[in-house]
Symmetry: C2
Subunit: 298 residues, 2 copies
Amino acid sequence: MSTQPEPDTPLIPAGGSLLIAWQLKNKNVLIVGGGEVASTRVESLLVTDAHLIVLSPTDGLCERTTELIKQYPARVTHHDRLFGGDSELQNVDMVLTAIDDVVQSQEIVDLCRERRIPVNAADIPDCCDFYFGAQIRDGPLQIMISTNGNGPKVASLIKSKLQKSLSGNEGKAIEKIGRLREMLKERAPGVGGPVGRRRMKWMSQVCTQWDLASFAQLDEASMKKMLDLGWPTNHVPSRTEVFGIRSSTLLPARASEALHDRTAARDISTSTKFILPLAVGFTVGVFSTFVISALRRR
Amino acid sequence: MSTQPEPDTPLIPAGGSLLIAWQLKNKNVLIVGGGEVASTRVESLLVTDAHLIVLSPTDGLCERTTELIKQYPARVTHHDRLFGGDSELQNVDMVLTAIDDVVQSQEIVDLCRERRIPVNAADIPDCCDFYFGAQIRDGPLQIMISTNGNGPKVASLIKSKLQKSLSGNEGKAIEKIGRLREMLKERAPGVGGPVGRRRMKWMSQVCTQWDLASFAQLDEASMKKMLDLGWPTNHVPSRTEVFGIRSSTLLPARASEALHDRTAARDISTSTKFILPLAVGFTVGVFSTFVISALRRR
């Protein structure tokens, strides 16, 4: 194994993080602290199916943390005490510290690292096995923005840029795709093998030929129709086939693509704008010719 | 601790993952397998500062994996053998399996879990502590798109949507913000305390008042100017103050914001479009009045 780093061809830059979607279903996550930062941690973690343990004297809880503990009694357990050492880490799968005491944070991190428990200590980058980033969430769609330690302000600048490009229907579309895949699996069951491959190929083709806006419009009946029409003959039904002519006439090809919609709206106002100056020009032309000829006749 | 889940107010939905930026600087990541999937794993991991170990008989390496091993000798070590059991996991901080043998994959995963080593087994969701997602990368900016297991096709649909909203200058802008923060720290050193807070506040104000496009245009000299002008008096210098009048006249306020630019371009063409129908209308007006009065005079 080479231990001395040699200069590599700098095609793939280093210095980044590995962005991953960590699975916390039925895992125990310990949050040490109860203030503002702790409350944002609780919120980030509530979207997972983890069980959260908040360790903080009650008088150290901020309003939001108190609220979350009350609101989600099955998902958050509060212990009214300070971190008591080693024993707190039993059966814990992840630890987040959110306390002002840097020394204690570091002690907790050391204990976690001995036990190989992933840990994040707020505001102490060196004590973090992982960082949090800005997030956009819409149902099953989750987007994370990491600026590699360049601060939350920058991340939120990028976040608002990205948000503008989303129509808000993407989560719904993804849910429908998931449901369609489920229905297909019921119709053509089995793991792997030729059926599995054919199923994967068909879903992939559907995803290539249909846009997200159209997926969002699907319901159980139209999904069934889609499978009835497409699966046995191995083709991707068109929107017209699935929704019928009337519906497809009503809906533009990429209906909920926000930008597209805005462009269309602009096109209409542009043509309105074209008629107005034309009319104004015409009126001025007629009027000025009249005036000039009237003046000449005098 | 409550063990029986009770129905919660469904304000924050569950069923998601925790998106995080995992730190792999100087860590050892074992990749079992050498085929196509392994090659994408190597590529994902090369952006981190991890040391990669690829475990695969040489005849099992695909072209891309072979290429990457050759190209990055200091970052990737190849062992020409199959997974040899327990001993392979010594000093390993993360394991990714990318082999066809599901049974062996599961055995490796079990060994990792005993040792609490984070593991991902390609194509076996139940054997994954974490999932990968579609990614956009531009220097220090990393964006991850997770569709909660709804497949890479859907993620890439979202990815291309998001990519369209980025100008390509964001990474550069973030680098400049990072450099500006560094320069400020050199000027006003110290961790935490009143100086730390003032520094954080100033940087935050700068990030609020300046846009990403303007940040991308900064160089060492203009950053120095920005600090000279803004830091002692605790204000955020304007673009004109930093770049001078000429430069700020040349550059629109949000120059490289792609959408904005396109809007501006559209505004110009709209005003051109306004003059054209006006002129056409005027000409037609004059002409038709002439014709009508000529006909009347006959």
